[in-house]
């Protein structure tokens, strides 16, 4: 009990100590709560969309409401959930612990970025109340400049959220450079740090472009300054260049930290040293670099020049190389390991299956001639859900379950966790695999109504979403109940090697009583026998 009282959760006490905290663990936890709230909202919207699509024509809502629903689902899931979830929530919590540091480099900036996130989120909520946006999350011109829904407040909210993302990225870059424990060299640090580092570079480099784009959009909409409207001398395709110059790298902001988590969990639960440490580390940087060169593959059918489309198609294939390097290195890590199937490992294996499908279908879509047919169909919807949900969300769930005992000092019910993982995996595939078939048969995305021939597959997909929802409900139940009656976790319930597992769970206010000295690699499971505690 005395150890518990010294934990960051209980010390210092009082609501003000939380609201004005500079402790990276508390800020991470506040992020986690806020982000999970929006994940829930986005998830409910997704369920409503799937219910509407259960049958052709009107099922539960009008067409205009449906347009607002899928726009909000996309905008909330992208800007309020998936971009910040791993870096800002889990990264904030574990990065300083992994580095052996007491906090991030700029604790006040960290708190500021949290409040900027909340402020941006309030703008987004305000726009929902005052007439939800119906443009799709991409806010494409010319429709977005003409739509009478609250485009300005939503895009302004996203503009504000961008600053939160930039400040977190900046903070992480400086923290990773400056606050390393003695002995923790660049090639001796956990790969999650490499993932966060590559992510932070993209956040700092690309996010300002999104901010500029949205400001230009607001200027055109509010003051009639011609930037994207051809009638005023603008170019609507230019909007897409601006938008995707950020938003394609943003896909890697979403997936790279997830890949970092996979490198952690796959080694712990197969008791193996990671295969190809440097290859995985450098492939993260390679993905970050290539991510800036491929945005035009979103625009193959939008009227961009043929030569640009060919260049972007070629460059897009390059992404397959570092992604493939990672997948094969993880598989090689599993080979002859002592694999155990706890919940984090189940999500890790799900990631390997689903991300591979998502990645390979990305090659289909990057192929110029094929994309002309598949563009804007459900094939694309299935592809990015396999990458984003099958990839990032599965990795996030792996990380959440892996670090849950560290964050809260409690163990969740492992059996229920396995059942939930099974529901989510089966439900996910039932929901999205059929969408590949729907898309390849010509079902366009974002449509309210559809031909009767698509009904069975749409219904199948909707039933899949219910299975997945059951999985998430079970997860919500056992995670929350673990806070009240879960078994107390020791320092190191998984027998892992990282520095975060050398201190009590939940960690004390100051993390480390003395600065740790690192003398071994992060994955030396072949040399060091770690006891579960």
């Amino acid at each position: 009990m005395s150890e518990d009282q010294a934990s960051f959760l209980n010390y210092p006490r009082g609501i003000k100590s939380w609201l004005f905290t500079l402790d990276h663990k508390r800020i991470g936890l506040m992020y986690l709560i806020a982000i999970m709230f929006f994940f829930f909202v986005g998830g409910v919207l997704a369920m409503l969309i799937r219910l509407e699509l259960f049958s052709p024509g009107k099922t539960i809502m009008e067409a205009h409401t449906y347009n607002q629903m899928f726009t909000l689902h996309g905008a909330i899931m992208i800007f309020l959930f998936i971009i910040p979830v791993i870096p800002a929530a889990l990264g904030n919590f574990v990065l300083p612990l992994m580095l052996g540091a007491k906090d991030v480099a700029f604790p006040r900036l960290n708190l500021l970025s949290f409040y900027i996130y909340i402020f941006g989120a309030l703008f987004a909520l305000y726009s929902i109340i005052t007439g939800a946006v119906d443009t799709g999350w991409t806010f494409y011109t010319p429709y977005s400049t003409e739509s009478t829904t609250s485009v300005i407040s939503m895009t302004f909210g996203v503009f504000i959220l961008g600053f939160s993302s930039i400040l977190t990225g900046l903070n992480f870059i400086v923290t990773i450079h400056k606050l390393r424990a003695p002995g923790l060299t660049w090639f001796n640090q956990p790969l999650f740090i490499w993932g966060l580092y590559a992510t932070a570079i993209i956040q700092v480099l690309a996010t300002p472009v999104l901010s500029i784009t949205l400001v230009l959009l607001i200027l055109e909409k509010a003051f009639g300054i011609g930037i994207f409207d051809p009638a005023m001398g603008g170019d609507p395709v230019l909007y897409q260049h601006f938008f995707w110059f950020y938003s394609h790298p943003a896909v890697y902001i979403m997936i790279l930290p997830g890949m970092g988590i996979i490198s952690e969990t796959i080694t712990v639960f197969s008791r193996k040293k990671i295969f190809g440490y440097k290859a995985i580390a450098f492939s993260s940087l390679a993905i970050a670099f290539v991510s800036f060169l491929v945005w035009g593959h979103h625009m193959f059918t939008s009227g961009q020049s043929e030569i640009a489309a060919m260049i972007f198609s070629f460059l897009t294939f390059l992404v397959g190389i570092p992604s493939g390097i990672k997948i094969f290195n993880w598989l090689a890590t599993l080979y002859r390991g002592q694999i155990s199937f706890e919940a984090p490992m189940l999500y890790t294996l799900s990631f390997l299956f689903l991300f591979t499908i998502g990645g390979l279908t990305g090659i289909f879509l990057g192929t110029l001639a094929l994309d002309v047919h598949l563009h804007d169909t459900y094939f694309v919807v299935a592809h990015f859900h396999y990458v984003m949900m099958g990839g990032t969300v599965m990795a996030f769930l792996a990380g959440l379950h892996y670090w849950w005992p560290k964050i809260f000092g409690r163990l969740y019910n492992e059996t229920l966790a396995k059942i939930a993982a099974l529901f989510i995996f089966v439900g996910f595939n039932a929901t999205f695999f059929v969408q590949f078939i729907l898309g390849s048969r010509g079902m366009p995305r974002r449509y309210y109504n559809y031909l009767d021939q698509f009904q069975p597959l749409h219904a199948f997909s909707s039933v899949g979403s219910w299975i997945m929802a059951v999985g998430f409900l079970i997860m919500g139940f056992y995670l929350i109940s673990s806070l009240f009656n879960g078994k107390r976790a020791g320092k190191n319930p998984w027998g892992a090697l990282g520095l975060e597992w050398t201190i009590s769970s939940p960690p004390p206010h100051d993390n480390f009583a003395v600065t740790p000295q690192v003398s071994h690699g992060p994955y030396d499971y072949d040399k060091i026998a770690v006891e579960r505690d």
Binding site: L238, G296, Q304, S305, A308, I311
Partner: protein, 132 residues
């Protein structure tokens, strides 16, 4: 980790500052002058080039980038590189967009049998269209 200062603050002579300021004024005048000359599409390039050069002067001398640790110069140039990438790849689209209409029709070989109608085929074709 303790911070060690590896260098002392660099102080430039006033003369350098005044020279740079003068150069900035001269280039501002050039920008204005050039805008009155019709260079076609090159007007924008000229304006951007002059503005970039002026920004470099400010960051190198007023902001001491040239005299600071080289890592900052490296980070700065990465930013410039990606602005370059953005403009260059976008220009591949906007400058070459008309190419899409460059397809010229090729004459169909005279007397080539493209579709030969005979009674048997036409009934089959009717059946096919009936199915659709």
């Amino acid at each position: 980790m303790s911070q060690e200062r590896t260098h002392t603050d660099h102080i430039l002579p006033n003369k350098t500052y005044l020279l740079v300021a003068a150069a900035l004024l001269v280039f501002t005048a050039i920008t204005v002058r050039v805008s009155f000359i019709d260079l076609g599409g090159y007007n924008a390039i000229a304006a951007i080039a002059i503005a970039t050069f002026k920004a470099l002067l400010v960051s190198f001398f007023f902001m001491h980038l040239l005299y600071d640790k080289k890592i900052y110069l490296f980070v700065f140039s990465i930013g410039l590189l990606f602005v370059g990438v953005f403009i260059a790849l976008t220009m591949f689209d906007t400058l070459r967009r008309a190419d899409i209409y460059d397809v010229t029709a090729e004459p169909i070989q005279k007397d080539a049998v493209i579709y030969q109608e005979n009674p048997a085929d036409s009934t089959r074709a009717d059946e096919r269209s009936g199915q659709h």
